[in-house]
């Protein structure tokens, strides 16, 4: 009988597809489900992704190093240090901190932590960009492995 084997193959393919779906969003899903919430300062830009529409690019002003760091390349870690109601960077580390909240990022001259894009309907993306001219505050969630997700942004 060939039909059951074809059906089994299809079910297996759908399971593989569902697994790939989880893999594609795993760090952000982990932060969303298991992370704790922190408030950090941001500044906006406003481009469009062809597959997912309008978004605001967020620049985490207090995460970025002041100048290029020679010899640092690949995975880096940003410890979060409380500063009043907000959290700021405790400096870049090339080793995973043993304790405390931290964000896992990549550095190749530019710091990317996976929380630089906030997807919104186009009108709201433009409005947010205007509202954030003087900067804003991002609410992010970070899990115990440093995976982060941005939840929302408000004007400061």
């Amino acid at each position: 009988m060939k039909s059951p084997s074809r059906t089994t193959a299809l079910v297996a393919a759908v399971v593989v597809q569902a697994s790939l779906l989880v893999v594609a969003v795993a760090p952000r899903l982990s932060a969303r489900v298991r992370g704790d919430t922190y408030l950090v300062r941001v500044e906006p830009l406003d481009p469009i992704d062809p597959f997912r529409g309008a978004y605001v690019t967020l620049r985490y002003t207090e995460f970025q190093p002041e100048s290029f760091i020679e010899g640092l390349d690949g995975d880096v870690f940003v410890p979060l240090v409380r500063d009043g109601d907000l959290w700021r960077s405790g400096g870049l580390r090339d080793e995973r901190p043993s304790e405390g909240p931290y964000v896992k990022c990549r550095y190749d001259g530019v710091l990317r932590c996976g929380i630089e894009s906030l997807f919104l309907p186009q009108d709201k993306a433009k409005a947010l960009e205007r509202d954030l001219l003087d900067g804003g505050v991002a609410r992010i969630k970070v899990d115990s492995r440093g995976n982060a997700i941005v939840l929302d942004v408000t004007a400061s």
Partner: protein
Amino acid sequence: MTKAHEVSSGQVEWLRREVAIWQAEGLVDEAGAASILGRYTASRRTTVVRLISVLGAAFVGVGLISLVASNIDELSPTVRFIGIVVVWLGAVIAAEALRRRLPDHDAEGPDANDPDANDPDADRSIAVGSARIIAVAAYGATIFQAAQSLQVPAYNSGLLGCWAAGALAYAYASRGIGPLLVGIATLVGWFTWALGERSGDDGDFVVGLMVGAVVATAVGAAHERGALRTFAAPWSLAGALLALIALFGAALPDVGRDGLDLPAVGIAGLVFAVLAAGAAAARADAQGRREIAAVVGMLGAGLLLAAWAPVDTTDELSGDELMHALVGTAVYLATAIWFAVVGAVRDRPQLTNLATAAVVLFVTVQSFGVFAPLLSGAALFLFLGVILIAVGAVADRGRRRIIEEVAE
């Protein structure tokens, strides 16, 4: 009397030629030949219906992804995600249910594109193909919806890679050619994008593309034997496209200027490509082995061109740079001619047309490079226009001659 089957005019033409040969060899008499030919009638209906259905399914797929991109905030992200998952799984189930209604649904091979099916079967087969295209596009939309809801950073090549892998898994499980085409297109897109992100310089990029070309050609050749023979052509076409892009780049004067310093992942890619080529050659037919050997040779040529750093003495073109450009051009033209011949031998006009278009594009770009410093404004465009008309005519004549000579 048996009802005549409607098939494409190209298939009728091919059958006429074959039957004439059979008659000449004494395999069938005149009455038999007339009887065979009488079983088939040329119709554009099936082709047109198939084209319209595929276009319709493709539009629905693009529409689903556009719907995700429009980020409708009247619906919560969870509702949007569940909605697109329902469309994806619904299309998978619908395609399977339609396939099971086909009379030969247990047959091996990609049944959704069987051109020999009679009218009602052909219509249902087209419906299966359309449902599969919608399923594979809806799967991509599901990934993008999840990524949008979870704010995965924009322009993340990994999402396209996951879509490609999922599309290929579905293509092989369903044996559908539509999902395979989507899978290969997204795979080539992801591979080129990811390679561009990670390549240290243009030499790495050229070698990476050639590695992709060898693997795709090997997969295509391995498919020439077995139940999934119709999967061979798309892989072969992808291999040719990657090889032509890679060697196009290798022939440009500035490529290879810094020499080649492959990272560990590049060397691993080369080893993998050679192993894949060897494994496929063991399974392929004689023509398939020739195609694998040729593309491995192209990989070698690409490596040499990328590693060959011409001595740059002054701002003007040095003798070494001129030699690099000439060798690169010769390799590129030989590659394009090879793929045109393979297209004719395998009866794959799309491959021959790709090679012809590649030659015309190459001559256009190289002509601009050579003549732009010498001519300006209107004179440049008039001169290049004449050159291109001549090249187009010569290339088309060459393409026809190759097809005729191989047919003989």
